[in-house]
Amino acid sequence: MARTTTSRVRKRDDRAAYVFLLPWFVGLVVITIGPMAMSLYLSFTDYSMLAPPNWVGLDNVERLLTDERLHNSLRVTFTYVLVGVPLQLAVALAVAVVLNRGMRGLAFYRSVFYLPSLLGGSVAIAVLWKQIFGSTGLVNDVLALVGIAGPGWISDPRTALSSIILLHVWTFGAPMIIFLAGLRQIPEMYYEAATVDGAGPLQRFRRITLPMLSPIIFFNLILQIIGSFQAFTQAFIVSGGSGGPSDSTMFFTLLLYQRGFGELDMGYASAMAWLLLLIITIFTAVNFIASRYWVFHES
């Protein structure tokens, strides 16, 4: 008797679940998995949308291996990720630690620091950045006050990428809020005990805050790396869509856009997209493996 009841309830759940999941499932198949499979197929073709895809085997892979502009775009993107992400997280952590629990004005400071995260991805802020770091922009106006003639930050290939990295660091507010939430989880008594034992602020940070926060640092690291590999808008607007000067801001996604939607070289663009997925997967996997050695789990 009990058994039939359970199976009846179970069946009802199944049917309800199909209904509730229907939009999501259609999206998964039509918007995500279907296109993923198709882009994998297109990776082995030459396709311009004007004629049917033409199977070319590993030609696109060979192109990936020999395409100098692509290699350059990988260098630019890696620099952006490997410099921008740690820098942004370091600032986020530092500010979160300073914004200690219960301090007066916390909500105000938090809002001010967080606001750029919401605006930073917009075209409008990229426009602002283009002015600020232009040769006659705000930064050089300020530098002129102290008698320094600054370079044209975004027109000089040596500094253009740095100004975009700085824009990324400017949006440290989102990881900062995650750090703040994590800091709140650390029991106050750990600090009290350490202080009684004579530990200074630096030691408390190294011996308590860092290990206790390491899962959150790891979490932020994963999210920011995945997000940063996909950065597009800022480089596009600041360089006027060209990735210049001299390809110094040619992010991987920008090259992908140019190849796929500028030149309608969609087979190659698909191969590039899968390379990006592969790179992100490797980074994430390495991160997970490395995390065993530095992420602390309370048992």
Binding site: R12, D13, A17, F20, L115, W170, I178, F229, Y257
Partner: protein
């Protein structure tokens, strides 16, 4: 102790100023004539000139109000889509027992990590076959199909925090899943819905890449692509009106931030989304 707290506040205030100085300066500069924007790093204004706003508003083929309206339509569609589709999926994952739940939930989590670029080429081919280029559908339909998995995850987390006794009681009273979902879970999860709505608004409003690909006719431009067209057409000659229109496009995001800050902070803290 008191001195150290004073130092801390001083450091924080300076840091805040550095952070928002570019924004304040952009607002002030938008009220300056073009020739004064250069060599004027300060924040003082001699006169409040709205010429930049008037010029910027009509600088492109259509008045800026058209682009604002387009963006509003897209954002509204995206918000409704995400609220309906993500909450339904989240209810299933959080409350229903069904075959394959674990596997599907895992797949859902994986799609959070999936870069949009991997699917963009075939999606473009598909949507262009539907005749959807230069329509708002490519920006709205994916939201109706719960492809923003972050929000599904956020809502699952939230629903798991709602006591199951409430569902059980309703079930004993004879309520089916649609009733439980609509009458009990949805009203209790309004904070999660608010977080979703605000984030969806901001992301949709700022979304440049998708709009760049699908919206090429000036009539259909949303504000990010309109602003980009404006930059391209003027180069760096009229910063004043560029700034003015940038501020017009940022204002709704800022407003959403002011109104929904509480939900935003909570949303990021629980799931780590931007």
């Amino acid at each position: 102790m008191r001195a150290s707290s004073l130092v801390r506040h001083a450091v924080l205030i300076v840091a805040c100023l550095i952070m928002i100085y570019p924004l304040l300066w952009m607002v002030v500069s938008s009220f300056r004539p073009d020739d004064l924007i250069f060599r004027q790093p300060g924040l003082w204004l001699t006169s409040l000139d709205t010429v930049n706003y008037r010029e910027g508003w009509s600088a492109l083929t259509r008045p800026f109000s058209v682009y604002l309206a387009n963006s509003a339509v897209v954002a509204l569609g995206a918000i409704i889509g995400n609220l309906v589709s993500c909450s339904m999926a989240a209810y299933a994952f959080a409350r229903l027992e069904f075959r394959g739940r674990k596997a599907l939930f895992g797949i859902m989590l994986l799609t959070i990590m999936l870069p949009f670029h991997v699917v963009v080429v075939p999606q473009y081919i598909l949507f262009s076959q539907f005749g959807w280029v230069n329509t708002f559908w490519p920006l709205i339909v994916p939201k109706l199909l719960a492809t923003d998995s972050f929000f599904v995850f956020l809502m699952v987390q939230f629903i798991r925090g709602i006591p199951r006794e409430l569902d059980e009681a309703a079930r004993i009273d004879g309520a089916g899943h649609p009733r439980i979902f609509l009458a009990i879970i949805l009203p209790l999860m309004t904070p999660a819905l608010a977080t979703t709505a605000i984030f969806t608004f901001i992301w949709s409003w700022n979304d440049f890449f998708t709009a760049l690909i699908y919206l090429t006719a000036p009539d259909m431009f949303t504000v990010p692509v309109a602003l980009r067209a404006f930059v391209d057409s003027t180069g760096s000659t009229s910063w004043g009106s560029l700034f003015a229109m940038s501020i017009v496009t940022l204002a709704p995001v800022f407003l959403a931030f002011l109104l929904g800050q509480r939900f935003l902070v909570k949303g990021i803290a629980t799931t780590g989304i931007k």
